[in-house]
């Protein structure tokens, strides 16, 4: 494996399977009454969050702590960054503190690539702008595998704002690596112009894709996209691309529903679909901690 996890494209199939298998082993630890492992004792993991994301930060924090690493949380708000410190100077500060891994969430696409030039430790991308969110894709794959088994040849449909979605980018790359067949469904305005070069199919018609899907992953739709004329109204979006009860009924009986959260209930997903037993949305959160443990463990070379 690479020293960093910045893009899902960094992972070979063997790497990805190693992470998923390691996560399976670690999941068994989570079922014990004492969840903590000593493997990363004495190692320092910095959570460097330039965007508010309590969910992702807590998930990484829990993962690092369960492996006994020392965790430093660095949030941009109220820190030197809000006083105009550059990413480079922040990186050099962390470097001086001896961070073994830096988990970075940043609003600018590519910020983790830049950070990797300036620190010696491993860089883990916890979401960069509209680029990627590889640990989300890993936890999604982990969640799918637990429900459906091997992902080879499985039909995964990803619905929503692909253009601005780091979750979609990482999922398309990782699922292609794992041999799943991905179909993206979105209004054409919310797909990149070059979508034809991606390793997946594209459709504008959700209803025709649903009956052939093993997994339907709904993406969050930002309401501000409406003001930029990506779609006419919330109601129209919901009607054409929302996963409501009628559409849910068109899915095969054993197909599952996913959402990376946070959800707009009633917009891209109906409440009863989100809460159905075939929804993995809550599992995804639990699996997030497990997969991030596996990533930190493998990057920092711990031993079980």
């Amino acid at each position: 494996m690479n020293r960093h996890l910045i893009s899902a494209a960094d992972l070979t199939k063997d790497d990805a399977l190693l992470i998923l298998d390691t996560a399976e082993e670690l999941a068994r630890v989570s079922e014990r009454s004492i969840k903590k492992l000593p493997t990363l004792r004495g190692r320092t993991v910095v959570n460097l969050f330039f965007e508010d994301s309590t969910r992702t930060r807590i998930s990484f924090e829990a993962a690092a702590k369960r492996l006994s690493a020392d965790v430093i949380n660095f949030s941009a708000k109220g820190s030197s960054v809000s006083k105009g410190e550059s990413l480079k100077d922040t990186a050099l500060t962390l470097e001086a503190m001896g961070a073994d891994a830096v988990v970075i969430r940043h609003g600018a696409s590519g910020a983790p690539h830049r950070l990797a030039n300036w620190v010696r430790g491993s860089v883990v991308n916890a979401g960069d702008g509209t680029h990627e969110h590889p640990t989300q894709a890993l936890l999604d794959a982990f969640s799918m595998r637990r429900r459906l088994g091997n992902l080879e040849g499985r039909k995964v449909t990803i619905v929503g704002d692909v253009l601005h979605s780091r979750v979609a980018r990482s999922n398309v790359l990782l699922l292609a690596t794992l041999g799943a067949d991905v179909t993206l469904v979105a209004p054409p305005t919310l797909l990149p112009v070059s979508i034809g070069t991606w390793p997946c199919e594209v459709s504008y018609d959700l209803d025709s894709v649903l009956p052939k899907s093993d997994v339907v992953m709904m993406l969050r739709v930002q309401k501000e996209r409406m003001n930029a004329a990506y779609f006419p109204s919330e109601r129209e979006y919901s009607r054409r691309y929302g996963l409501d009860r009628d559409r849910f009924a068109k899915m095969p009986d054993d197909a599952i529903v996913m959402h990376p959260g946070p959800m707009n209930r009633g917009m891209e997903i109906a409440a009863e679909v989100a809460d159905s037993p075939r929804s993995t949305i809550v599992e995804q959160v639990a699996n997030g901690v497990t997969i991030r443990m596996a990533v930190l463990y493998l990057l920092l070379g711990g031993e079980i």
């Binding site: 550059s86 600018a108 509209t130 070059s194 979508i195």
Partner: protein
Amino acid sequence: MLIKNVRILGGEPVDIAVVNGLIAEIRPAGSAGTRHDGDDTAEAGLPEVVEGRGAIALPGLVDLHTHLREPGREDAETVQTGTQSAARGGYTAVHAMANTMPVADTAGVVEQVWRLGQEFGHCDVQPVGAVTVGLEGKQLAELGAMADSAARVRVFSDDGRCVDDAVLMRRALEYVKAFDGVVAQHAQEPKLTKDAQMNEGVISGRLGLSGWPAVAEEAIIARDCLLAAHVGSRLHVCHVSTAGSVEIIRWAKSKGWNVTAEVTPHHLLLTDELVEESPNGSYNPIYKVNPPLRTRADVEALRSALADGTIDVVATDHAPHPVEDKETEWAAAAMGMVGLETALSVVQEAMVDTGLLDWAGVAERMSAAPARIGRLPGHGRPLEVGAPANIVLYDPTARAEVDPSSFASKSRNTPYEGMTLPGRVLATFLRGRPTVLEGKLA
């Protein structure tokens, strides 16, 4: 002064005698010359002889598009360092863009820049005037006052911003006819490029960077060509970057309309793939520029357009930025690249060594045409007896790795760092006075 053993436009070796800033005689290399009356070489403290060693002699280069940053951003560049950089690149005249602080939108500011150029004298500085007050795109600047000033401005541009209001653009094109001016348009439809970070295409989709679509450039160029035709004015298109723009300009020229265009060296050589993968890492803002680096197909179209004359001029868009404005995440970084000191080498690599352009073509595109468009009668003249001795000596056989620390420019934001490029400027002469000798500032 005698410039010995040089090959004008790559021709037979000759010696060039320079007297009082003019070319007095051109004779076969090594042949006995006549004595020229009133030779000022000694009293002006000039070298008696400059050995050309078979270098190519070109007319001094003229840049239609340079950002000297003074006044306002002297941390990035000054008129002094910018013109030193120009001289090192073989330039004898540069057009200083108007987006300074304050903006060059009055006779006072353009005269200040012009005087600074006169004072330092590494090359002639011809200020460009802003089209609109403060580059705001709302109200015409006092174009006539700038034209009538000591700086005698002929090129007007809001470069960095597009004059996107069609009525204002029409009026500007019409108004400058009164003093033979030209409007140099930065063609960028603003709404189509809101927050745009790089060329919209395969790479931007993968990298999750907001796209700068080709159509945002092409739509404005098409509109401006039609406007220029309608009012019978001169239009110059800055930094053409797409294959579609080339087609539109070719069409406009075929109609006989008075449209000229420039391409930058970086758009002739580099592509948007560098944003994803380069020896300098991914997302390195050293490749961030406006208009953005495009695709290989665009590069090929630009090269053939420059070769066939659809594009008239190579202009550097030399855009110095301090290191802290580039050592950032991509979205936060400034747009632009320095280019004066590498332009001729890049043009050799992209155009000459590929057989698309000979040295006469290079002289036309980098000296004669920009001087014509900018109305600089003292520049861009063929190297012949009686012409001002604006000369660059260039050794096309040299090859070297680009070393930003060797630049005369105050800034180091070159996309060519670490690349090996052909050619070296050995000497530059401005009206007979060397500004560069042996590759160093004279």
